[in-house]
């Protein structure tokens, strides 16, 4: 079993993701954005960072990288893809996931620990979790204010494609717990097939007890167990 971490120019959570995956017992390789080969990876991760400096619009330039063609094909074939933060933005810009990111409601970059609630535990990424579980995971972004036209949002909800929502420590969803103005407090979504997850919080930053939380490991472990049992 092998994970591939895509490196775009400006990616900066590539090594963080590598260390987290490694500590969860899965080896990973780096996939260069100019390549087209996914090297037989079972899990592809688009890591956080500032691909192309977030110039023009976060994630948009990276979505035109050669490797994204292969990532799209992989998604269509049912391959597991996890986009974290900037990776989520790239998935949106390349149309693999629906919706768009607006600037945070406060118009400022926000870096802090937040709580997210598991809304759907039937995905490969959340299979080890329970619905309603609260995870403490940090966010760090300028554009995390998720938007979708109301009709599509209804569809997203109906299909159970909302995976994580920002909440307070008790798991309550309210405006106070919403750091960026995201619709419905959305922090993470999957595609209809359930094999592609995009999330704004950084699970790799919550993967070691010394850093204040290990809740992020639960997401990586779910993926690994899913792939093992497959």
């Amino acid at each position: 079993m092998k994970a591939g971490i895509v490196v775009f120019p400006g990616s900066n959570c590539d090594w963080d993701t590598y260390h987290a995956l490694r500590s969860c017992g899965i080896e990973s390789v780096f996939l260069w954005h100019k390549e087209r080969n996914l090297n037989g990876c079972d899990l592809v991760i688009l890591p956080g960072g500032f691909s192309y400096g977030d110039y023009l619009r976060s994630g948009v330039l990276a979505s035109f990288s050669p490797i994204m063609n292969s990532v799209k094909e992989f998604a269509e074939k049912g391959g597991l893809i996890l986009g974290i933060c900037n990776g989520f933005q790239i998935l949106l810009e390349s149309g693999i996931l629906p919706g768009a990111m607006l600037r945070n409601k406060g118009l400022r970059f926000i870096c802090k620990f937040v709580n997210i609630r598991v809304e759907n535990n039937s995905t490969p990424f959340t299979k080890n979790l329970k619905k309603g579980d609260v995870l403490k995971i940090p966010i760090a972004h300028m554009d995390g204010n998720y938007y979708l036209p109301p009709s599509e949002l209804e569809k997203l909800k109906k299909n159970g494609n909302i995976v994580f929502r920002y909440c307070n420590e008790k798991g309550e969803i309210n405006d106070e717990a919403n750091p960026n103005g995201s619709m419905e407090n959305i922090a993470g979504i999957v595609n209809e097939r359930g094999n592609v997850l995009g999330m704004m919080p950084h699970p790799e930053r919550a993967s070691f007890s010394i850093l204040g939380s290990e809740d992020g490991r639960k997401i990586f472990k779910s993926c690994i167990d899913y792939l093992r049992e497959r």
Binding site: P9, G10, N12, C13, W15, D16, H19, A20, G48, G49, F50, Y52, G53, D54, Y55, R108, F109, I110, C111, K112, P138, A140, M142, H202, E204, R205, S207, F208, I210, L211, G212
Partner: protein, 734 residues
């Protein structure tokens, strides 16, 4: 003889011009004059500070590189070394806060990775005027956004720092940026041009007309029309910097180069002359080959441009193609613009003509050195403690102190910085020191930036000693031993005798404390001329201390953790109130005298803390500094979500307000479980330390009593709200 106006434009004196003529044996041409102007500017040459900086201790166990290079280097064992330095970007940040601060980050980060180190942490020391003035809010907003915009993008976490407000920084904001990186010991690189015939590469962004004479601007006072200097501020491109970090570390890892230096202040001129000077060689540059952003640039502009994100690399002969391949992979501009020569000259040609030929030593080590005259200034007024009115309601003044931006929570600032990227940030901003996890060996690096300009204003020498001691105390609180330090010395105009005296006093005080604690200073930065329209800043040295924690699991933070645990004050109570936030709030002025410091007591406190933390005896530790004991206790409570009940009886008949709000150094508040009481008391005896158990952690109130009377009693969450929201509220309208 040259015209006076031309010398004035170049900020050179007639004596300096004479020296240039002497050194090169003829009159310089216009290009050469420009080069001397920047290289001999205060900013690049340290001509006023050099004689004093020599007094600082620079050697010590583990020091691999002291001052004189891009950054200092210290061995941390296991084949690893840390590389760190602090630098000021005060003048550009005043003119254009966003870009000024952003390029400050870019510059210091380049200083670190050029030595072969991956940058892992940034910290900032910021000073602004009071936030009540809209101009200061605008400045702070711009500076913080600039640091965030650049640091976040390049993936280097901004893990801590400090921010203070005082009227002397209105129109003279200070932006000091610190960076630390980790290198493999056998892969350290220097800014040295060696090996005749080795190719000189130009890498990174194209050269434009931005920033010409930026270093000269930073070496003069500002006047009311400083707005006009805006074109002298450079514009940063963090994306390019991120690519440069990766590409440069790759060519170093592959052993393709012999030397490398950032084109910072004074651009191509400084990077080429300094690398040649350190290598004892010369350099030839063909300016026709320099990638230009705009047409029609003159050799003068090319040599003096301070465009950002550019590096000068001395490659290994025969490895040219491999070097080019790496930079092509990262989509960066890379070309050969010259070669190393053994003639000791910096020579440049443009369109086939020689435009300059000067000995590199004349530009660098032979720059003038000044022993500027100094004169002791009058001490600021001291207040007779008995004359300080006793406030009728301590609760009331306590709340005012909690909401002072100097004391209150700095979350508005640091949540805008990505402080967690690279997943090494063990202590979040707000602790006594930042702590980074070294994954390779399970150790921790502790970093603190400290400056107390109120004390330095009252007594520059004592203030500087207190600053060093506070840094030591900050890393003591997290369980770290000191390794080495860097400093950033921000002062007014050194041509004024009283400013020069302040500078001399601060350096000597710092030297004394560093000698005592055996802390080597491995480099730093001096920023003079922090004056606008003749009004200068308080003497503001900033000290960046780095320490090591042997086992990262042992790290301690300031938050209260357990209901019922004991609270103790380590250190002596002294009847000192001078220089405190309390007096400034109560009387509106910074009255002396400056508190006194006993360096040996500070060292004992450090030893006590290290032993207590290594033996896991403590639950929390927090240093008493700004705002005094009451603020210290409250911060432990707010961070831990637990109140306290404290009784002050033990200090006899001293005034309670002085006990609560005095800012005497060498004191730490600890909390611990009852079962460790005996061992902690014994340890305190061993280190000859006063230890007073003053109360217990718990409940939902902050209570301070004397003789049973509750002099302070406020609700924990109410106090926390005031403390957390103060800056945020003020910054709502910018």
């Amino acid at each position: 003889m040259i015209e006076k106006e031309i010398l004035e434009i170049h900020n050179l004196t007639e004596e300096e011009y004479k020296r240039i003529v002497e050194l090169i044996g003829r009159e310089p041409n216009y290009v050469e004059l420009g080069m001397f102007s920047v290289m001999w500017s205060e900013h690049c040459s340290y001509k006023s500070s050099k004689v004093h900086l020599k007094k600082l201790p620079t050697k010590g166990e583990g020091v691999i590189q002291g001052p004189g290079e891009n950054a200092g280097i210290i061995d941390i064992g296991d084949g690893l070394a840390i590389v760190f330095k602090i630098e000021s970007h005060n003048h550009p940040s005043f003119i254009e806060p966003y870009q000024g601060a952003a390029t400050g980050v870019g510059g210091i980060v380049r200083d670190i990775f050029t030595m072969g180190a991956r940058p892992i942490a940034l910290l900032d020391s910021l000073r602004f005027g009071p936030l009540e003035e809209p101009a200061n809010r605008l400045l702070m907003d711009g500076v913080v956004s600039g640091i965030a915009g650049y640091g976040n993008s390049i993936g280097v976490p901004t893990v801590g720092g400090e921010t203070y407000f005082h009227p002397c920084y209105s129109k003279n904001p200070l932006v000091n940026v610190f960076c630390l990186g980790i290198a493999k010991k056998e892969k350290i690189f220097y800014g040295k041009a060696s090996g005749e015939g080795n190719p000189v590469f130009y890498v990174g962004a194209k050269t434009g007309r931005d920033g010409i004479h930026g270093a000269t601007m930073a070496s003069a006072e500002f006047s009311e029309d400083s707005e006009k200097k805006r074109p002298n501020v450079q514009v940063g491109d963090p994306f390019k910097e991120k690519l440069l970090i990766e590409a440069c570390l790759e060519v170093m890892d592959k052993d393709l180069i012999v030397g490398i230096q950032d084109m910072g202040a004074a651009g191509l001129t400084s990077s080429s002359s300094e690398t040649a000077s350190r290598g004892g060689t010369g350099i030839y540059l063909n300016l026709d080959l320099v990638p230009l952003r705009e047409e029609g640039m003159s050799p003068y502009e090319i040599l003096l441009s301070e465009s950002q994100e550019r590096m000068l690399i001395i490659g290994k002969k025969g490895k040219e193609r491999e070097i080019e391949e790496v930079f092509r992979k990262w989509d960066l501009e890379c070309c050969i613009i010259g070669e190393v020569r053994d003639d000791g000259f910096l020579t440049a040609t443009f369109k086939g003509e020689e435009v300059c030929k000067v000995p590199v030593k004349a530009l660098t080590s032979l720059a003038p050195v000044y022993r500027r005259p100094y004169k002791r200034r009058k001490s600021p007024p001291h207040i007779n403690p008995e004359k300080v009115p006793v406030p009728s309601d301590l609760n009331d003044i306590f709340v005012k102190i909690l909401s002072s931006p100097n004391i209150s929570y700095k979350g508005w600032i640091f949540t805008q910085y990505d402080h967690m990227v690279q997943t090494n940030t063990v202590l979040l901003p707000g602790a006594d020191a930042s702590v980074l996890w070294i994954k390779e060996n399970g150790k921790g690096i502790a970093i603190t930036l400290d400056g107390n300009s109120n004390f330095c204003y009252l007594d520059p020498r004592e203030g500087a000693k207190i600053m060093v001691a506070e840094s030591l105390r900050n890393i003591s609180c997290v369980g770290a031993r000191p390794l080495g330090a860097t400093n950033c010395l921000n002062f007014g105009n050194p041509e004024k005798e009283e400013i020069m005296w302040e500078f001399k006093e601060v350096v000597e005080g710092m030297a004394e404390a560093c000698e005592f604690f055996k802390i080597p200073i491995t480099g730093g930065n001096v920023s003079f001329y922090n004056e606008t329209s003749g009004k200068g800043i308080y003497p503001t040295p900033v000290f960046g201390l780095v320490g090591i924690i042997e086992k990262i699991e042992k790290v301690l933070n300031p938050s209260f953790k357990r209901e019922g645990s004991l609270i103790a004050l380590c250190g002596k109570f002294k009847n000192e109130i001078g220089g405190s936030e309390y007096l400034r709030i109560l009387l509106g002025e910074n009255f002396g005298p400056c508190p006194e410091i006993d360096l040996s007591a500070e060292w004992n406190l450090h030893k006590f803390m290290i032993e207590a933390i290594e033996n896991s005896l403590l639950l929390s530790a927090h240093d008493i500094s700004d705002g005094g004991l009451a603020v210290c206790l409250s911060e432990c409570a707010f961070l831990g979500g637990l109140g306290f009940d404290v009784e002050i009886e033990r200090f006899g008949d001293e005034r309670l307000d002085f006990v609560l709000f005095g800012e005497s150094p060498t004191r730490i508040v600890i909390s611990f479980s009852e079962e460790n009481r005996k061992r902690i008391e014994d340890l305190a005896k061993k280190w000859n330390l006063d230890l007073s158990i003053i109360g217990r952690v718990g409940g939902e109130r902050l209570i301070i009593r004397k003789h049973g009377k509750e002099n302070i009693n406020i609700n924990l969450s109410e106090g926390e709200r005031i403390w957390r929201k103060s800056i945020e509220e003020k910054m709502k309208v910018i």
